[in-house]
């Protein structure tokens, strides 16, 4: 059976992926801070260069603030050569623990899904299904 998705399927897939993105942005940010402290724009660039994901900038800073208020991140203003201070974020112990826990769940889930999707074979391979750009 040929697997060309029709329009309602694409809409449903987009909605589903929005939920996936929402749930994974926290992990993506925590993971990007695993090795070193970064400031906001570095986190954005890190995510863009290390994956196929582009982060909508206006969503990241509020999320960083929330993660900090949850005690998962710590922040510090650092003077830079560019003439203005930058706010660097780093993982706290709780943040490292959360990142590990979330990544384990994600890897287990992704592995399970890969097995489940095996029967679909090449038909399911990535035609990019996302077409909507943020407003």
């Amino acid at each position: 059976m040929n697997g060309t998705p029709n329009s309602p399927d694409i809409d449903a897939a987009e909605k589903w992926e929005v939920q996936l993105r929402k749930g994974t942005l926290e992990l993506a940010i925590l993971a990007s801070l695993w090795n070193e402290p970064l400031y906001g724009l570095e986190i954005l660039r890190n995510l863009e260069s290390g994956s196929r994901l582009v982060v909508v900038e206006g969503t990241v800073y509020p999320l960083l603030t929330r993660l900090r208020s949850l005690g998962l991140l710590a922040s510090e203003w650092v003077e830079s050569d560019s003439g203005h201070p930058r706010k660097y974020y780093c993982l706290t112990d709780a943040g490292r623990s959360r990142a590990l826990a979330l990544s384990r769940v994600w890897l287990r889930f992704a592995g399970s899904m890969a097995s489940v999707l095996t029967p679909l074979g090449d038909v399911a391979r990535p035609e990019p299904i996302l077409t909507k750009e943020p407003a």
Binding site: V18, R21, V56, T59, Y61, L70, S82, P85, K87
Partner: protein
């Protein structure tokens, strides 16, 4: 967009500061400084008005950006405290920013009012049992009038529920307040985050 990038940026930051006025001063200062630093970093190699416009567009309007901070902050606090009052204040803030927010705010207002009235009725029934409650009157075996509420004098009709009205009103009022709270929380999450502003966008290979 103002042709002077510096003025455009200052106007954006001033608008953001105004939209964040409900937060603590220290938090507002940190947020505005961080966004300021982000804009300076983004435009460090190209300070043209077009680049600034792109940078500000990527952040969203000051209202949208402030709403995300408010939502994150207030939803989180509301979740932690489970405070309907705090949620109501969050919805009021949202109502000022969008039609969807206004609709949810009005629905929530109705829900809280009905829940509050049921609690009030339970209170009145407990202390003024003959003046509050159901009142059903029959004339020659037929229902002639029915009412539910409280009056200044004793009602003349039959009250089939009696004091059972108190637990019924308390349970029903609690359920309506709880559902209103859940509706508000769900609406905030649903409207304010993923659909209107998807967090991540896949890039085609």
């Amino acid at each position: 967009m103002n042709a002077d990038p510096q003025k455009s940026m200052e106007a954006y930051l001033a608008a953001l500061r105004r939209q964040l006025r409900d937060l603590m001063d220290e938090d507002v200062r940190e947020i505005v400084e961080e966004i300021h630093a982000h804009i300076l970093d983004r435009t460090s190699g190209d300070s043209s008005p077009e680049m600034l416009a792109d940078t500000l567009a990527a952040l969203g309007s000051p209202q949208q950006l402030a709403l995300r901070y408010h939502t994150d902050e207030l939803v989180q606090r509301a979740q932690l405290t489970r405070s309907p009052a705090l949620l109501f204040r969050t919805l009021l803030r949202w109502a000022a920013l969008s039609v969807g927010g206004m609709a949810v705010f009005m629905l929530s207002g109705i829900g809280y009012c009905i829940g509050g009235m049921l609690f009030g009725m339970a209170f009145l029934k407990a202390f003024f049992p003959r003046q509050a409650g159901l009142s059903i009157e029959y004339t020659q075996g037929h229902l002639s009038s029915a009412g539910f509420g409280a009056g200044s004098g004793p009602h003349t009709g039959h009250d089939p529920i009696g004091l059972w009205l108190i637990p019924i009103c308390l349970v029903l009022g609690s359920a309506i307040l709880f559902l209103t709270f859940r509706l508000g929380m769900w609406s905030l999450r649903w409207f304010a985050h993923p659909r209107r502003q998807p967090a991540l966008v896949a890039v085609e290979e």
